[in-house]
Subunit: 373 residues, 2 copies
């Protein structure tokens, strides 16, 4: 893409910066004390992956989908994304059309997923480190809730909101703002709502068409160990996500592009947009074993938990936060100490309550670690 | 108290500052369009209320407890607080003793509550505006989890943490820090875990001794419409809480003093401390009608929801956030627009999951309102 090429030098500089920040911090905190520390991955080749009907799938992650691009660990890929439902949910659409599109893909998510990207050398049991280097949105966006009378379980207040409601936005990409209405302005904070590696064959989510084959396509609706529809608001430019790998080649997808979201995503949607480019460095980590994804930002480590029941999602997120604190090697501590520290310092937020499988994430501030080695 | 007197001038200046910030912002946002706007309350008289066995009750809010102090609306009260269980849970205590104290007051909270303070003119249906002017902790603190084998429902990971664990802290009040262990330092962020007005006779919480009298004492364990054990981490110095009043005189209590807490308070306790002084300006608002408490900080309005089920607490918090946005008068909007805006801009956090009745609070950033009138 022309824009991606024009920005190549900036991206290269950002990649170098991200390498220095991310690898240094995470290496300190990683769980395996005897793990072979991987050197910061060199900034590899640059690739682009445009969003077309050939490269984008609507609503399902199919492990048998042929890769659209093959890269090496350390390469940077600039991926284009579409709006929901193969780019059909765009400004000007009516609520009736949104509802019809939702019903046209039963069980599948509305999300348009660009991918999969095959990463050479990635094997089940490894971890995919995805560094969000840069995000350039396209200049329009949408927010809506589905009519509660027809979708009474989708959205925090669905039973109290019988009608559908939709709002269109023209984004000011220079100011990185959207006007909600005169007097209310939202700063853009783009992040990929959905970022997945290939499915976990043990994911209890239903498969497409009710198949019992664990390798049948999985809906993009439910976040899980392979990431998918995490909707982690804090996964913005400069952040890194670590996702356990289940299938050979990793198989990276992204979609459900967001330009801003509150923790909770309460009416069902964020400021839903699409990206001209999301530049991601993909690094295969042989030295890092995870069961669930984790995020690292400049200021925090973020543990996450998912479940259909928010009470259980919270427990799962807390367990992950305690695991992280117990396993980090900067300041060794017992599991009870980790539990105690999480109680005083971890900031647990409601990721979302609208993805069937709800989410909580707990943010552990790096600033509490005052010992440098 | 000597310290309170010495700090009088600083407090007076802070009160003036708080008045300017708080009243100006909230007046803009208040819900009743035709309400008579109250002028900023003049900084009234100063009072102190020391914590003694006469002024502090352990674990129950009794609406028949005689007031320990009577003040006028606008007065500032410097309240001293105790550690849990009438100051018995202090550094050096054993876990067996903590457990014995917990069992010594069945159904009641561990909290030591200083009060009640009777505010002249406060009537049921009014709102108590409590401005947190200043907090000065005493220089020690505790964090602990109860043994999960004996208390399997208390604490996010209780079934996985069979043993009790307790940790003592000496606070560095100059640096406003606590050392968790060498290499980990926590900045102090004190806030009252429990801040209540007199009970709501319709609170479904059980009453002391199983009484069916709605005016029998209510445990301090469960947050409710009258505030009580809210554990809202963001209610720090400079913040203001607005609590609906149910009983004549308002009847303000505070206790469960915290020196730092993560959102979630996951192991049961925060950095539990006590205060030499928490200075609060108490303002009776006749012009403001609320059903549930709300908090205002310099940067956010905070709506809250409670329920034994975190899923329902979330829904309740979202409804409160949408109510707030729909009712504010700075930029009029429909309820559907308010729902949409909350989805993109409100940051919902897990307040706590350890108070029997769990909490979620949604933070609405003031910065999105770019229109000044």
């Amino acid at each position: 893409m022309a824009t991606a090429k024009a920005n190549k030098r900036i991206v290269t500089a950002l990649v170098a910066l991200a390498l220095m920040c991310s690898a240094a911090f995470y290496a300190l905190a990683q769980q395996a004390s005897d793990a072979k520390k991987s050197s910061p991955a060199p900034a590899g080749k640059r690739h682009t992956l445009a969003a077309t009907l050939e490269t984008v799938q609507w609503g399902w992650l199919d492990p048998k989908e042929p890769p659209k691009l093959t890269v090496d660990s350390g390469d940077v890929v600039s991926v284009e994304t579409m709006m929901h439902a193969h780019d059909k949910v765009r400004p000007g659409i009516t609520m009736d059309e949104v509802v019809a599109l939702r019903r046209a893909n039963p069980g599948g998510g509305p999300h348009s997923m660009t991918g999969p990207i095959y990463v050479n050398g990635a094997e089940p049991g490894d971890t995919m480190e995805i560094r969000i280097v840069k995000i350039v949105p396209k200049p329009f966006a949408i927010n809506f809730n589905l009519p509660g009378k027809d979708f009474p379980t989708i959205g925090a207040l669905a039973p109290e909101m019988p009608d559908g409601f939709i709002k269109f936005f023209t984004l000011d990409l220079k100011k990185r703002q959207a006007e909600f209405k005169p007097g209310i302005t939202l700063d853009l904070r783009p992040f990929p709502g959905t970022l997945a590696v290939g499915i976990d064959p043990n994911d209890p989510s239903p498969r497409k068409g009710g198949s019992t084959d664990p390798m049948a396509p999985v809906s993009t609706l439910r976040p899980w160990k392979n990431g998918s529809n995490m909707d982690i608001n804090e996964l913005q430019e400069g952040a890194t996500v670590f996702i356990p790998i289940f299938l050979k080649g990793g198989l990276v997808w992204t979609g459900d592009s967001h330009c801003r979201q509150g923790n909770g995503e309460v009416n069902l949607t964020a400021l839903e947009c699409s990206y001209r480019e999301i530049a991601m460095q993909l690094v295969v980590r042989k030295d890092l074993k995870l069961e669930w994804p984790r995020v690292e930002t400049k200021t925090h480590w973020i543990a996450m938990g998912f479940d259909e029941d928010l009470n259980k999602a919270m427990v799962n997120a807390v367990r992950e936060a305690v695991d992280f604190l117990e396993q980090q090697k900067m300041v060794p501590m017992s599991r009870y100490e980790a539990y105690s520290l999480a109680s005083m310092a971890a900031d647990c937020r409601v990721t979302q309550v609208v993805d069937v499988r709800k989410g909580v994430h707990c943010m552990i501030p790096k600033s509490i670690f005052t010992k440098k080695s």
